[in-house]
Each structure stands twice: as structure tokens, then as C-alpha cells.
């Protein structure tokens, strides 16, 4: 154990050695599950936080929460593209996410609804989504209550976005941030936060996503289809196949 002024930090992995686990949204390793029922929820959380990239297929059928996470990833990439000016693999990544969102949107029966935002510049824009739902909310709850539903939906979508945003901001090829710091003790403390505490605590913190998504589903004035397995999404709705050569080297 490494203790920092009363805050006990789990042992640091040796440099270059990561704890056994799965890839997080940023490609980092998250602690692995053990098959326990509680861990099944963690599997769902890991998927909701994942990058949905070409490195692996989503293990669980994709549902409404996955759709929101994909819209969030597409939104992020559109923003990066605007900032970077269309360089590198960003345009292809955007195409990948647009294809994923489009297929899942169809699979969940959300085409032509205000949640069908993949083609817009800001697919996870809270105001756009919520104002798009306004007519349906009004017809269902009346004008006054509809305004409160909009606030509630906006609050949940914002919290969801913030949970996904709380991620590693520093991308790296080898080592973690600060891996070249010459002071060994300081380097070890940074690694303990970066490799051990942050991943573990973030995963636990993200458990809220499951509850949030269930509530969002009940508040939404649209009918959302049942989760769809990846094979069916590919076969029936054109979800992109990561093994297809056209997607090689996108991520």
C-alpha cells in the first residue's frame, strides 16, 4: 500500500504492466469482472463507457444507453474535427460513429424521432434533443408539466454526458502521463492515481449510468425498441463490421 497523508492508495502496477481487465473508453485498462451478478452490471457500465471502436465488438446487446453513448462519442468527434480541421483519422472515425448511430437508431426504432440526431453537427446537444421532444411532451403532459419534463431530461442527459466526459484526457502511446519524470517517488504516486485509483473509482462512479438510462427511457415520450445483438444489427441494419477492410486502422 502507498499511503498519502491518510489516503491509502492501492499498490502501483510495475511500469509497463497493467492490471488484468478490459479497455476503457480511452483505451485504458479497467478492472475485470468475475462473473458475479454485481459484475454483470459493471459489464454493462464498461460497455456504456467504451469507445465502441474497431478493437472489439460490444459484448451485450445494444440498447438505448448504448445509443446515447454512441451519440456522445460522435458529438465528441465532430467537435475534435472542427478543432483539428479534418486531419488524420478523425473524418473516418466520424464516419464509423455515424454508421453505428444510424444502424442502432434503426434497430431501436428511433428513426425520424428527435433522437435521430446523428446527421447533425452536435448529435448530443442537450437543447436540440430536449426541444425536439417538446411537442410530444406537451401532447402527453400539457404545456406546463412538459416544461418540467424538459428540465428533468436535460438534467439527466447533462449528468450522463459529464460522467462519460470524466475520462483520461491525456492520450499516450507508452507509459502514463508523467512516465518520464525523473523523480521516482513522484512518478510512482502519479501512476498510482492514473493506473489504479482513477480507473477503479471511475468505473464505480459510472454505475449511475444504468439507473440514469432506465429513468431516461421512462421519461422519453418516444417508444424505444428492445436492445439488439450486434450480429442482428449488422445483418439487418447495416451496423459497420470492424473486420471490414474499409475500417482498418481507423482507431
Amino acid at each position: 500500500m502507498l499511503a498519502i497523508e491518510g489516503v491509502h492508495v492501492s499498490s502501483v502496477n510495475p511500469p509497463g504492466e497493467m492490471a488484468h481487465g478490459v479497455q476503457s473508453a480511452s483505451g485504458a485498462t479497467l478492472p475485470a469482472g468475475s462473473g458475479h451478478p454485481i459484475d454483470r452490471e459493471l459489464e454493462a457500465v464498461r460497455q456504456l463507457r467504451s469507445l465502441y471502436d474497431t478493437r472489439s465488438d460490444p459484448a451485450l446487446p445494444l440498447g438505448f444507453g448504448d445509443y446515447l453513448s454512441l451519440l456522445f462519442r460522435l458529438h465528441e468527434h465532430n467537435h475534435l474535427l472542427q478543432e483539428a480541421g479534418g486531419t488524420g483519422n478523425l473524418p473516418r472515425r466520424r464516419d464509423w460513429y455515424t454508421a453505428c448511430c444510424g444502424a442502432l437508431c434503426q434497430g431501436l426504432g428511433l428513426e425520424q424521432t428527435s433522437l435521430d440526431t446523428a446527421a447533425t453537427e452536435k448529435p448530443y446537444d442537450l437543447r436540440q434533443i430536449v426541444s425536439g421532444l417538446r411537442p410530444l411532451l406537451r401532447s402527453k403532459h400539457g404545456a406546463i408539466q412538459a416544461a418540467y419534463y424538459e428540465i428533468a431530461l436535460g438534467g439527466l442527459l447533462r449528468q450522463r454526458g459529464d460522467i462519460l466526459r470524466a475520462d483520461r484526457s491525456v492520450r499516450y502511446a507508452q507509459g502514463g502521463p508523467g512516465s518520464g519524470i525523473t523523480d521516482e517517488a513522484l512518478r510512482a504516486r502519479i501512476e498510482s492515481i492514473y493506473f489504479t485509483r482513477f480507473d477503479r473509482d471511475l468505473l464505480e462512479f459510472s454505475r449511475q449510468l444504468v439507473t440514469l438510462d432506465a429513468l431516461l427511457l421512462d421519461l422519453m415520450p418516444v417508444t424505444v425498441g428492445e436492445p439488439v445483438a450486434i450480429d442482428r444489427l449488422r445483418a439487418e441494419y447495416g451496423y459497420p463490421d470492424r473486420r471490414d477492410p474499409q475500417w482498418g486502422g481507423v482507431f
Binding site: E5, G6, V7, Q145, L156, Q159, I190, D201, Q208, L215
Partner: protein, 211 residues
Amino acid sequence: MVAQADQLRITQLTSSYSPDAPPQLPLAFGDFLSLLWQIDRASGLPSREGYYRRSATALARGLGFEQRSLYRLIQTTPAGKIYASLPNAPYRGTERLVDAHDRQTAIRQLADIRDHILAMGAYRSEWKLGWPGSRLSDVEMRERLFAVFFTAFEGQFTHFSRLLLVVDIVLQEMLLGDRQNREISLIRLIREYGYPDPHSSSVRQQFNAGN
């Protein structure tokens, strides 16, 4: 479980530091970082920004690092840019240039973790007219929303935000170059270093002016 002392500390670090919510515990380096975050957040609100700048300036002097580049950061960096400027600290000094880039990267990551946590900790202060969904007539839905925004969120956030305690120690080491446990009481800060007195009516008026 989070120890009560840790919880009180986290509550202070994620608080607004406004005259209505003055710090209850002695202030340390982590409070300074939270005050910098509040300056950024007050961008576009000059009176509020001024309050937080005075608070951060007084705290930096009270903690004895007014000769450091971090102190000058408060005076020279526009609100909204301070947290983004923190990673450049290794380049402002003359030491350890060999690993300055690595330090810069590490500071950026740790400051970002801090930023994420404080942003979520500020939810409550942003709910001016009740929490989202508090006026729904559907009681069951209202209770479920309450559970998400308060019970579930607070429970998880309490644990997650504990990272602040560790992050702040490491950030102090990288930004000030030591792990010395500096602390100073609010009373002393007000009397000796010009920290804005939260009980002063003029301070309160100024804080709320134009907002």
C-alpha cells in the same frame, strides 16, 4: 466508506467558497486550486471574479508561496484560462527542464480530473429553481429523479471525489515542489492577508453585484 474528516474536506473543496458558504476548515493548497477553478467559472462575472481573485491571492500569501510563478498566475491570467495554464508551470521555473514535458502532461491530466470532479460537485449550486424534475406532478417519477440526482449521485460522488485528496497532494508536489502540509485558518487569512470577510455586507453586496 469515506472517513468523516475526509468527507468534510471534500465538501469544502467542492464548495462555492462564496460569502454564503465560507470555508469551515483551515484552508490548504487544495483550497487554493479550488479557488482558481472558481475564478475560471466566474469568467464574465467581474464582481464574482474579483472576489475569488482576492481570496486566492490572500490564500497564496497566507500559505507562503507569493514568490512562486503560481502566485503570478492569479494576477496575469484571464478568468476562464487559469486551469488550462496550470500545466505550463514546469516551463515557468528554471529547474527540472529535462522532464518538463512529462510534468506538463501529468499536471494536465490531474487538473482535468480535478476539473471534472468540481464541475459535477457544482450541480447543486446551479439549480436555482429546484432540482431537475422537482416540479413534476407524477410523484413516482419525481422520487426516482430525486434518487438519481441525490441518493445515487451523492453516494457515488462522495467516493469518486475522494480522488481530490490524492490529486491535490501530487499537484502540490509538482506545482510547488514540496509536500509540506500548509494550512491556515479563515480568521487569520481575513485579519492578516486580506481574504474577503464573508460576514462583511460590502463583500456580500459586491459578490452578488451584477450577477
